[in-house]
Symmetry: C2
């Protein structure tokens, strides 16, 4: 068959097979409950460092899947990450995706306070009335967002069902992640400097597909 004629589902299935084979060749697979997330992050980055970098609190995946099944709202810290989250899956589950980075209120408050829009975005998210829907935060870019989220949690102003902390970078990134490691709040963290908006979206999608009862995306071409 002409190599370029393979459809998206077949491409994804074969990619995941290759990833699983390579994970096995490097040692034991990650725990079964975390495997889909690890595979999808490697699918999105082709970086097997995530096999070691990704840290899951006990039951984090189950907590995320349960929240998404209950129609959780996913809050991201970049519009890139939001663009990568499967809208089809969110719709199926009755959830929604939000990002406040382009919100004029975020720009204004950030300017007034001399803070990053990312940090202010977390405050705006904490003020949301979700009508009872749980909140899942997916931070792929800004350590200031992750640090502010932690502070808001400590102050009792927000109570996420799951925190996906995978900002990328060289300044304050590692420190922002260390805040969550060992905390009792369900979390999935990419230890170290690596991470990114596609990683955040990939983790959301792995959880969304599981919540929607799918082994993989249904014909989605984008990698996350």
């Amino acid at each position: 068959m002409d190599r370029w004629q393979m459809g998206p589902e077949e491409i994804e299935r074969r990619s995941m097979e290759i990833i699983e084979e390579e994970l096995l060749s490097r040692g034991e697979l990650p725990p079964a409950e975390n495997l889909a997330v690890v595979k999808r992050v490697i699918h999105t980055t082709a970086d097997f460092d995530y096999r070691e970098n990704l840290v899951f609190s006990p039951g984090a995946v189950a907590a995320g899947v349960e929240a998404l099944r209950a129609g959780a709202w996913i809050v991201t810290d970049t519009n890139m990450a939001l663009a990568g989250v499967s809208k089809a899956a969110l719709e199926k589950l009755g959830g929604r995706g939000l990002c406040f980075m382009a919100d004029p209120a975020a720009a204004r408050l950030a300017r007034e306070r001399g803070e990053t829009r990312a940090a202010v975005s977390m405050e705006l998210a904490a003020g949301l009335d979700t009508g009872g829907a749980p909140l899942v935060f997916a931070i792929g870019n800004a350590p200031t967002a992750l640090a502010r989220l932690y502070r808001l949690m400590e102050e009792g102003r927000v109570s996420p069902a799951l925190v996906i902390g995978v900002p990328v970078g060289f300044v304050n990134v590692v420190e922002s992640k260390e805040l969550f490691l060992g905390s009792s709040r369900p979390h999935i963290i990419a230890r170290g400097r690596k991470g990114g908006s596609t990683v955040a979206a990939a983790i959301c999608n792995a959880l969304l597909y599981q919540a929607a009862g799918r082994a993989q995306s249904w014909g989605r071409e984008e990698k996350p």
Copy 2:
């Protein structure tokens, strides 16, 4: 100073300093004309493999910068990548960013022909009337887009000023990139399996900032 009080410009400046130090510790820096692109990709991924992975045809960066100064249109293969491209810089230069992945015509044609939307997107882009503006293609996700773009070029149906070929993945990705390596068309390729929408956006932004006469972004918080 409270570590969390650093502003976006300062964070970026220090991050780039750290990246340059680490590049130096690993050997010679990349050639001066390519350095800003390499640094911005590492800024976006925290992955120093890109020091070796990124391949630049002679004068590729200059070709990209010249095209963007002439108001080039940037065509991406994902909405994620488009979301990551600096709209402020595009506006300053009189260019625009496009992606056909969510275009109903792309979905319809893909279904009719049994092809990927990504491949069809390239055909739609090749049919654009840009009013004389050059075209820059930034492929961060789909090998089928990169392969179709190559075919359209060979058939004389499109003539990009620059091709950024950085799709990520495990099936057909390496092969799609090999098509361009050694070709005379100006290209920036991420050799191997690594790449992604954030990498595509980062390369676009590095070129855009250079074209706009900036050493770095002006207070942009997103990493690409």
